[in-house]
Symmetry: C2
Subunit: 198 residues, 2 copies
């Protein structure tokens, strides 16, 4: 017997979630059929209301419930340093480390020639515009330390340096081949103190 068609349709949708393989998708599908109506309603409503409430901050492109986001509208932050991350999750991971009190910029991805993701597919133009218009003195490259993140950092260093802005990269403590959003807070704190010029 094959899987019922209705399960198949859910599996197809869930397999597209990041990090979810076909077996996990099957498990989650059966789970979503078996749980109470109350629980499934709560889940579906959380998706619908999050999608209605969340927006991209027009300054940093963080996903937030307000625009500008709470970080960009915080007057106590150092507006001369910009930390450049791949995703909103990375922004939260860096901000939790509490070592950093500047502003952020979310690229929305990383360069990946193999997946045909080039500079036009992430927010490089908007980043350059931001760096030009605001008086940023230092750009911290906090992209992942896997090959996509490193490629992106190299590329960004290349295009930011001509603007006479100091470019640094999170350094000390980050394990190679890793993903920033999974790093613990101490590791991120150390990486911020130990950042080095590129």
């Amino acid at each position: 017997m094959n899987r019922p068609q209705h399960i198949e349709r859910m599996v197809e949708a869930i397999k597209r979630f990041p990090g979810i393989g076909p077996k996990m998708a099957e498990r989650i599908s059966y789970h979503l059929v078996k749980i109470s109506q109350n629980e499934v309603d709560r889940f579906i409503n959380s998706i619908i209301s999050a999608r209605a409430a969340m927006r991209y901050c027009s300054k940093c492109f963080n996903l937030s419930e307000s625009d500008p986001c709470p970080i960009c509208s915080d007057d106590l932050r150092d507006k001369t340093i910009l930390c450049i991350v791949e995703t909103p999750q990375d922004l939260i991971a860096v901000s939790k480390a509490k070592e950093y009190n500047g502003l952020y910029f979310v690229l929305g991805g990383a360069l990946s020639p193999l997946d045909a993701v080039g500079p036009g597919d992430i927010r490089t133009d908007l980043l350059i515009k931001r760096l030009r218009e605001d008086s940023i003195s230092e750009a911290i490259l906090a992209t992942d330390t896997d090959s996509k993140g490193e490629t992106t950092a190299l590329y960004l260093a290349e295009i930011i340096k001509p603007l006479k802005i100091k470019v640094t990269r999170l350094g000390y403590g980050l394990p190679a081949g890793g993903d920033i959003e999974y790093a613990d807070e101490i590791t991120i704190s150390r990486a911020i103190s130990g950042r080095k010029e590129m």
Copy 2:
């Protein structure tokens, strides 16, 4: 900065999915905010229509689009052998192996004293009723080979034997500590041929 409240609410719901930890739940939450309206609609509709269409078969308690399910209503199957599994996913895994042509019974879980799951929490009474009323000559215990599944098999063997029904357990080829739904078809085929009496 902490996670926005709306993301928090999704993470809470998604963390309850089987096999999903908090970090994965966060990733999926952001994914569900970022994907197109079309894609999220397709996902939500697949849940709603699956929940409306799927029911438990009143004979074997498989999750199916019809009652009785296609297996229970298949006249070509050997109605004297009953294969007892923990979940609908396990049933599909066993049926794909094609070595087995009898009927099934889905327990809906496994005994787990540590989680306070006792015989009253899975379908043991309905299983005994089924074995008594139908003329079953052999019960194949196809519960997982982890400690819960083994405990369940031992318990079931104990309560089925007094009914003068031959009790066998999937044997050959199953790795220890494993989960039946992840086994490949050849391993399951061998386990069915090599089953041994308990």
